[in-house]
C-alpha cells in the first residue's frame, strides 16, 4: 500500500498500549465461555461415529426421561425451522437430517440443567445407522461411481463473497470450480528456456484458537439473541434470520472478547444449533465445545496441486499453469471462496504474462473445511515459491535477485481486471535480505531462503460505523469489528482520537453487537484497519462537520467563518472545544453528536481487491546432519502495511502469524 505522507500525528503511528491490556492481564476480560445468564441450561452434542451413513432411526426417549434433561433435539424434530444454513451454499443442516456426512457430525443435542447431566444423557440416545461407502479424498469423490454426498439441489447463499456462480449441488460431488486464464500458456511453455513442474499436497490443518467455539442463545417471542465467539456476527445474523424466518431486527449477535480466531471463527458455526436448543427448551442455552469437538467443526481445505512455471532466457517468468483439487469436506462453508482465492493466489506477486489455473473443490466425507489464516494462500504459495527457487537454480540465478527481477511493480496492472499492484515488493525483499545478511558466508549445514506472497485481501468492502461525541468531549465509537486480539479496540480509537483531536483515553469502543453497532461485513482478511479504520476516520470527520455547523449557530456566524483546530473550532478570537460546542448548542452540559460513515464498493474501493496484501519472509536454517534436527537461526518477516497505525501491534501480528506458520 502506498504510505500516506507523514504528518504530525499525535495518536496515530504510535505504539500506544493495548486498550484491553488491563482487562486481559487481570482476568477481567469477558469471553463467551465466562458468561452465565439467569435460568441458563447447557447442551451437549451426540456426534456421528460414521463418515457416511443413513440414519434409520433415532430414539431419544431414554435420554429424555433422565433427571435434569429438558429436551433432546434431532434432525427429526426441527419442524418450524429452516434447518439448512450457509452463506455460500445452504447445504449445512444444524443437525444431521436423514444421513450423516462425516465422522463427528452433530446428530442430536441434549439440553439439561448442567453440562454433566447433558453429557451423561448422550449415551442413552439410540441411533440406528446404515453405513454407506465413504469418499475421503477428491480423487475418490470424482470417480464415476462415487457415492453422492448431497443428493439435493441447493439454494445459493446470498453472501458468498464472490461474483461467480456456485457450482455445488449439480448432481456430482463438485463443490466449486474456478478458472483463471490469460495469455497463451501452451505457446509460452514451448518457447521456455527452463521449466519446473511438480506435484504438491497441502494437508488438513486446524487453527487451534485457545478458546474453542462457544455460544449462548436466548430465543423468545422477541427474537433470537446470541452471545458467540464469532468473528463475523453480521454474517451469522444473516444465517439465523433465515433459519428462524425472522426480520433482521429480531436477531441479535453479541460478541465480547474472542479467544483467538485466525479465520476459524469466521462465518456461522454452532450458532444455529444452540439457537434451536434454546427455541426448543424455551430458556437460554449454552454450548461450549471442547477442543476435540472444535477440530470436528472446521479445518483448512487440503489441496493437491500440480503446477509448472516457465522462464525465458533472460530470467523473466513467462508462464505459470496449475491444476488444483481441493477437499472441502462434508459442507461448503467458506470453501467456494477458498477456491477462488487459492486460484488467484497461484499468481503470487509477480507479473506473469501467461497464466492458466484450474481449480475444483470436492465434497468428501470429512470435517467441513473453511477459512484459516489468509485462506487459499498457504495452499498454493508453497508450490509457487518452491518453483521460483527451483527455476532460479536451473538458470543459475540467485533466488533473491530472481524474485527482485520478476516482482510486480507499484502501479503495474499485473492481474487483469484487478486493482493495480499497490505493494513495494522490491523494497520489502531488500529489507528481508538485509536482515538475513543475504550475501554473508554460511556455516556448513546452514541455508537461507526468501519467499513472497501476494494476496487479494480485504474481503468485500461493506462497512459502516458511528461515532458519538458527547457533551464532555469524550466519544463512543460504535464498531461492528470484533476484537480477536488483533488490536482493533486500540487501533480504531487511535484513529478517532487523531481525527477528533482528543486524548485516546476519552474514546471508548462499543463493539460487535448487531442490535447496536452499525453493519460491518466481517472481521478478517486484514480488512479492519483499512476498511473500518477508514470508516472511523470518515465518521469522525462527519461529526466535525456537524459540530462546525453547531458552532456557527452558537457563535451566530456563517459556517465558512468557522475554522477547525485540534479538538475544536476557532472563529476570530473565540475558541471552542467540542465539549463547549455541544453544551452551548443544546444549552445543557449533555447531549451528543453522531458522526456516521458508510463504505461500499465505490470510490477508493471500487476496484478489488481492497488492497494487495504483500508479504515476504526470510529464514536462515541449520540442520544437524546426524539427527536431522532443524533449527531456525534467523527469521525476518516483512509486512507491507503502509502507515502502521500502531507499529507494535502491526509487528506483533506479523511475528504471531509467522510463529503459527512454523
Amino acid at each position: 500500500m502506498s504510505t500516506e505522507k507523514q504528518k504530525d500525528f499525535q495518536v496515530v503511528n504510535r505504539s500506544v498500549p493495548r486498550r484491553d491490556g488491563r482487562a486481559k492481564v487481570t482476568g477481567r476480560a469477558t469471553y463467551v465461555s465466562d458468561i452465565k445468564l439467569i435460568g441458563m441450561a447447557y447442551t451437549k452434542v451426540l456426534r456421528s461415529p460414521y463418515a457416511h451413513a443413513k440414519i434409520l432411526s433415532i430414539d431419544t426417549s431414554r435420554a429424555e426421561r433422565r433427571p435434569g434433561v429438558y429436551c433432546v433435539l434431532t434432525g427429526n424434530n426441527l419442524e418450524g425451522l429452516n434447518p439448512y444454513y450457509g452463506h455460500a451454499v445452504k447445504d449445512h443442516p444444524l443437525l444431521a437430517i436423514d444421513k450423516v456426512r462425516y465422522a463427528g457430525e452433530p446428530v442430536a443435542a441434549v439440553v439439561a440443567v448442567d453440562e454433566r447431566t447433558a453429557f451423561e444423557a448422550l449415551e442413552f440416545i439410540d441411533v440406528n445407522y446404515q453405513e454407506l461407502k465413504a469418499v475421503l479424498t477428491p480423487k475418490e469423490a470424482m470417480e464415476k461411481d462415487a457415492p453422492l454426498l448431497h443428493e439435493k439441489k441447493f439454494q445459493a447463499g446470498a453472501l458468498r463473497g464472490f461474483e461467480g456462480e456456485v457450482t455445488a449441488g449439480q448432481g456430482s460431488n463438485v463443490c466449486q470450480e474456478h478458472h483463471l486464464k490469460w495469455g497463451d500458456v501452451e505457446a509460452a511453455f514451448k518457447n521456455a528456456a527452463a521449466i519446473v513442474e511438480g506435484e504438491y499436497y497441502f494437508p488438513m490443518t486446524y487453527a487451534y484458537a485457545m478458546e474453542a467455539y462457544v455460544a449462548i442463545a436466548d430465543v423468545d417471542d422477541h427474537g433470537v439473541t446470541i452471545y458467540s465467539s464469532a468473528q463475523h456476527p453480521f454474517m451469522v445474523r444473516h444465517d439465523l434470520k433465515s433459519v428462524f424466518n425472522l426480520p433482521v431486527s429480531a436477531v441479535r449477535l453479541i460478541v465480547p472478547f474472542v479467544g483467538g480466531g485466525y479465520g476459524s471463527k469466521s462465518y456461522t458455526k454452532i450458532e444455529p444449533l444452540v439457537a434451536a436448543c434454546s427455541w426448543k427448551a424455551k430458556r437460554p442455552v449454552k454450548l461450549q465445545l471442547t477442543v476435540e469437538e472444535a477440530m470436528l467443526t472446521t479445518r483448512s481445505d487440503d489441496a493437491f496441486t500440480w503446477m509448472r512455471t516457465a522462464v525465458d532466457a533472460d530470467g523473466k517468468i513467462i508462464a505459470r499453469q496449475a491444476r488444483i483439487t481441493m477437499n472441502t469436506g462434508a459442507y461448503a462453508e467458506n470453501s467456494p471462496l477458498v477456491v477462488e482465492k487459492s486460484t488467484n493466489r497461484c499468481v503470487g506477486p509477480y507479473a506473469i504474462p501467461n497464466v492458466q489455473i484450474d481449480n475444483i473443490s470436492f465434497y468428501t466425507n470429512t470435517v467441513p473445511a473453511s477459512s484459516y489464516r489468509g485462506f487459499g494462500c498457504a495452499q498454493v504459495t508453497l508450490p509457487g515459491e518452491s518453483q521460483i527457487d527451483e527455476l532460479a537454480a536451473k538458470i543459475g540465478k540467485d533466488p533473491y535477485e530472481f524474485r527482485l527481477m520478476n516482482a510486480a511493480k507499484p502501479g503495474e496492472e499485473f492481474f487483469p481486471k484487478m486493482r493495480p499492484f499497490d505493494g513495494t515488493l522490491k523494497e520489502d525483499l531488500e529489507i528481508a535480505a538485509k536482515a538475513l545478511g543475504w550475501n554473508e558466508p554460511l556455516e556448513k549445514g546452514s541455508g537461507r531462503g526468501v519467499a513472497c506472497s501476494g494476496s487479494d485481501a480485504g474481503a468485500y468492502p461493506l462497512t459502516s460505523t458511528a461515532i458519538r461525541v458527547h457533551a464532555d468531549g469524550s466519544a463512543s465509537l460504535m464498531t461492528g469489528s470484533t476484537e480477536l486480539g488483533q488490536g482493533s479496540h486500540t487501533v480504531l480509537p487511535q484513529i478517532a482520537a487523531e481525527e477528533l483531536g482528543i486524548p485516546i483515553d476519552s474514546v471508548r469502543v462499543v463493539s460487535s453487537d448487531t442490535a447496536i453497532t452499525p453493519y460491518d461485513r466481517s472481521t478478517g482478511a486484514s480488512r479492519t484497519t483499512t476498511l473500518m479504520g477508514r470508516a472511523v476516520m470518515e465518521a469522525s470527520r462527519e461529526a466535525i462537520q456537524q459540530m462546525v455547523r453547531m458552532a456557527a449557530d452558537v457563535l451566530k456566524v456563517k459556517v465558512e467563518e468557522i475554522q477547525v483546530i485540534r479538538g475544536g473550532v476557532r472563529c476570530g478570537e473565540a475558541q471552542l472545544g467540542w465539549s463547549e460546542v455541544i453544551s452551548k448548542y443544546y444549552a445543557l452540559p449533555d447531549g451528543e453528536v453522531i458522526g456516521r460513515a458508510y463504505i461500499r464498493k465505490d470510490g477508493d474501493f471500487a476496484k478489488l481487491p481492497v488492497f494487495w496484501e504483500v508479504a515476504c519472509t526470510g529464514v536462515e536454517l541449520s540442520v544437524d546432519e546426524e539427527t536431522g534436527k532443524i533449527q531456525m537461526e534467523k527469521l525476518a518477516t516483512v509486512g507491507d502495511v503502509g502507515l502502521a497505525i500502531n507499529p507494535a501491534l502491526a509487528e506483533g501480528q506479523d511475528v504471531g502469524a509467522a510463529t503459527m506458520g512454523m
Binding site: D20, G21, K24, G27, S33, A207, Y208, M210, E211, G260
Partner: protein
C-alpha cells in the same frame, strides 16, 4: 462435599462434588473466570493456577485435592492498592498477548518461575514456560515480558 482452602489470601469454603475439577470450582462455583480452560488435557497451560506456590493445571486437578492448601489465581495478583503485579504490567508493556486467552495462565506460570528464580536466564524462561501455549503472539514478547518483570522486581527489592 464441603472443601475449605485459602483462595487469593482469604479462607473460603465451597460445596462441590467429588469429580469436580479445580477449574470448574473456580469458574462455575466461585465465578473466578480469569482462569481459562482450553485443552482440558494438561498440555496448553491456559488454566494454570498456583497451589502452595507451584504451578498446576486446574483443568485436571480435582478440587478436593486443594483442601487446606493455598490457591492463587490471576484475580489474586493485583496489589491491595490496585496496582498491577510487575508481571501483569510487563505483559502490557511488551505487547505480550493478543487475544489474551492464554495470558492468565502464562502470568501465573511466570510468577511461579520468578518466585523460585528471581533472575532467570533466557533458557530458564524457555524451559519453564514450555507448558504454556500461545497461538496469537508467538513467544518472543512473552520472554521479554518475563525478563522485564524480573528486572522490575529486582529494582523494587533494592529500593
Amino acid at each position: 462435599m464441603n472443601i475449605q482452602f485459602n483462595l487469593n489470601g482469604k479462607p473460603i469454603a465451597v460445596e462441590c462434588e467429588a469429580q469436580e475439577t479445580l477449574a470448574e470450582v473456580l469458574r462455575d462455583r466461585l465465578n473466578l473466570t480469569g482462569t481459562k480452560v482450553s485443552c482440558e488435557v494438561q498440555v496448553c497451560g491456559a488454566c494454570t493456577v498456583l497451589v502452595d506456590g507451584l504451578p498446576v493445571s486446574s483443568c485436571t486437578q480435582l478440587a478436593y485435592e486443594v483442601r487446606d492448601k493455598s490457591v492463587l489465581t490471576i484475580e489474586g495478583l493485583e496489589r491491595p492498592d490496585g496496582a498491577l503485579h510487575p508481571l501483569q504490567q510487563a505483559f502490557i508493556d511488551e505487547f505480550a498477548f493478543q487475544c489474551g486467552f492464554c495470558t492468565p495462565g502464562m502470568i501465573m506460570a511466570a510468577k511461579a518461575l520468578l518466585d523460585e528464580n528471581s533472575r532467570p536466564s533466557h533458557d530458564d524462561i524457555i524451559h519453564h514456560m514450555d507448558g504454556n501455549i500461545c497461538r496469537c503472539t508467538g513467544y518472543v514478547s512473552v520472554i521479554k515480558a518475563i525478563q522485564r518483570a524480573a528486572n522490575e522486581m529486582a529494582k523494587e527489592k533494592r529500593s
